[in-house]
């Protein structure tokens, strides 16, 4: 890598079902201004802007970065627009980091958003391919069979997903920006919530949110001058595989395993569970926590559910997962990946507020998208590597 990169500012919006108080412009500015304020910088300090979001059809604007350029202070600057399905928030942060690591820019603003209330995300995610059977409704319809397959393979107890949801919903109560908050949430409330896509219950599912996330990334010198602790980017990785072909393991995808392997090699990590203090991973349906714990190498294959079951992934466990409440609590799709990356950064900066993991020095941010086929992840640390 030519240059080191660090996160020196983080911002996000309130996430809600319908942010009717703001336009798309207002939404991205809310997050961007908070990130700039956190970095103690202004628009003129920024060299380039990298924006990401999921499908343009969600808001009905083709390449909306073009009209958002004015509001994001891009005039006369380079602006890039990333779209890698659900992993896009993570990929966007990685592209922004690359601009710094390449030595091309010193300070880059990266923003991601989705204003899902402009359309109906569930049906927008119900993709009917030409010449193929339309057999699923919404993302849950696609992922439920994969979860069923995981349950069969791992022989995980049936209530594992409920336990994940309970943990994430309790964490969300500590997060002022979280969309879904159920102050009295308990095991029985989740267990008795309606079954949406068997085995996924209503309260084991992510919401559809309006929201945005932003970060300011910088090279070494501005990072060392920042008054708040920067989060140093130790490693990034992205991997992609095709949606379907005979023999593809959709439950434990090779692309995820390869990305993690590449990431750990770059970050010098040989034992992720010991060397990583906490992780914020993309869990839109509760059961994906144990599935990704295995895919990421935190647990041997078939045993991820044990970590959940034993409480290891709780905020006070030995491997806290989704301290912010995760995707289950806020899901503006285009921003969901960046929210994971930003939470990892805030943890090692000591800026995670009530959901801070004591002494977090190394954290992982993770996102996935498409049919469990796009992966982007990074490791950030309190110290430069």
């Amino acid at each position: 890598m030519a240059e080191r990169c660090a996160v020196i500012g983080v911002g996000q919006t309130r996430h809600e079902s319908k942010r009717i108080d703001v336009s798309q412009v207002g939404l991205v500015r809310e997050a961007a201004l908070r990130a700039l304020e956190d970095a103690e910088l202004s628009w003129t300090d920024i060299d380039a802007v990298v924006i990401g979001k999921a499908p343009d059809l969600f808001e009905g604007v083709m390449m909306p970065e073009l009209f958002l350029a004015d509001a994001l202070g891009c005039s006369g600057k380079p602006m890039l627009r990333v779209h890698t399905a659900g992993s896009v928030g993570g990929s966007t942060a990685i592209v922004a980091a690359s601009l710094v690591e390449a030595g091309v820019h010193e300070r880059v603003l990266t923003v991601s958003y989705e204003k899902q209330s402009e359309s109906n995300a569930m049906w927008a995610l119900t993709i009917r391919m030409p010449f193929q059977q339309g057999i699923v409704a919404g993302a849950g319809g696609f992922f439920a069979p994969l979860i069923r397959s995981y349950m069969r393979r791992s022989k995980a107890p049936e209530d594992t997903g409920i336990r994940v949801a309970l943990k994430d919903r309790l964490n969300a109560l500590k997060n002022p920006y979280a969309h879904l908050k159920f102050p009295d949430v308990d095991f029985d409330q989740i267990a008795s919530s309606p079954m949406l896509w068997d085995p996924i219950r209503y309260l084991e599912t992510c919401p559809s949110s309006d929201g945005a996330c932003a970060m300011v990334l910088s090279s070494e010198k501005p990072a060392k001058q920042a008054s708040k602790t920067p989060a140093w980017v130790h490693a990034t990785s992205m991997r992609t595989e095709p949606t379907m072909f005979a023999g593809r393991d959709q439950v434990n995808p090779q692309a995820g395993k390869d990305a993690a392997k590449d990431l750990y090699a770059k970050a010098g990590i040989t034992d992720p569970r010991k060397q990583i203090d906490c992780a914020e991973i993309y869990v839109p349906f509760s059961w994906f926590e144990p599935m990704w714990l295995e895919n990421l190498g935190f647990a041997p294959e078939g045993e991820g559910w044990k970590m959940t079951y034993e409480g290891a992934t709780a905020l006070d466990g030995d491997m806290p997962i989704n301290m912010s409440g995760g995707v289950l609590s806020s899901n503006p799709i285009g921003a969901s990946g960046m929210l994971r990356f930003a939470e990892a950064a805030n943890q090692v900066r000591g800026e995670a507020g009530e959901h801070q993991v004591d002494g977090a020095k190394v954290a992982l941010g993770h996102a996935y998208g498409g049919g469990s086929q796009y992966f982007s992840m990074w490791i950030v640390g309190a110290e430069p590597r």
Binding site: A2, E65, R81
Partner: protein, 348 residues
Amino acid sequence: MRDVAILSFAQTPYKRRESERTEVQMVLSVVTDAVEKSGLPKSDIGFTCSGSSDYLAGQSFAFVGAIDGLGAWPPIAESHVEMDGAWALYEAWIKIQTGMCNTALAFSFGRASMGSLPETLNMQLDPYTLGPLGIDSISMAALQARAWLDQDNHTERQMAEVAVRSRKNALNNPDAQLKGDFEVEKLLSEPYLIEPLHKHDCPPITDGANAVVIAAADAVPSGANPVWIRGIDHRIEPHQPGFRDLTQSPSTKLAGEKAGATRLDIAELHAPFTHQELILRDALGLDDDVRINPSGGALAANPMMVAGLTRMGEACREIWAGRAKRALAHATSGHCLQQNLVCVLEGD
């Protein structure tokens, strides 16, 4: 900065409607072709980046299917921009600069024939203040052309001359869609399409795909004929037409300066409308001895999301053919040249 070169370029023949092949088949053919010509084994490609728009296919996640045209197994390091392929190449170039990879593939595809392009591009406008006016992409360009004509004694004849030269140059380009020997007088006697634009001032609607392979100096295989990327930069301007002087292109000017656009033999300019070529030439300060769009440019084939990267490929083809040593390739995005990229290319 690492020295990075374009090793190969491939494109589909450009046509009004690709009815034989799906996007995946188009991608498969250009990617296979570009990788083969690069002299690198496919397994050596360190990073892949594509450019496309869901709005052309009219379907969310349209780019996901294109993965099938890559043979992404074992899994690959890959990214996608919802932009012209020229920006996919930029991201790939950045990735090589970080040292994370030494070679990369950039490709793009677009099938505008699936819908009604001028109306589709209305949805590219600010959805609160501009889009609802119902203005389409040709009308937006017409506003810009009117502003340009109202300045400095500019004439519709100058615009027609661009159309004639472009489509004449395209006669030598086997992949071009719209080519022929036209007469300025005759073109000017035709009725307006949207005043002050005649039909000849506008680009054709095009389906197509293209791909390039790039490599850092230490990864250029022996026997290759590298075209070096001497500089690359891109800039954006405000979206609201009232916030800009539509007769100028300051973002192109700035990108050209940053990319070191001097001492050029040719320039491949991504100017979908005739007056835009004249605005771009002015912004880049191109002399009369710089040959413009030997390929015919976007007036001869304008595959959306593809035509910018095509400019780089066509500039390389001129260099490979020995007709140029140093070339400029330009890409644009958005209405009225809102966003612009300039790349300076040089033969070995």
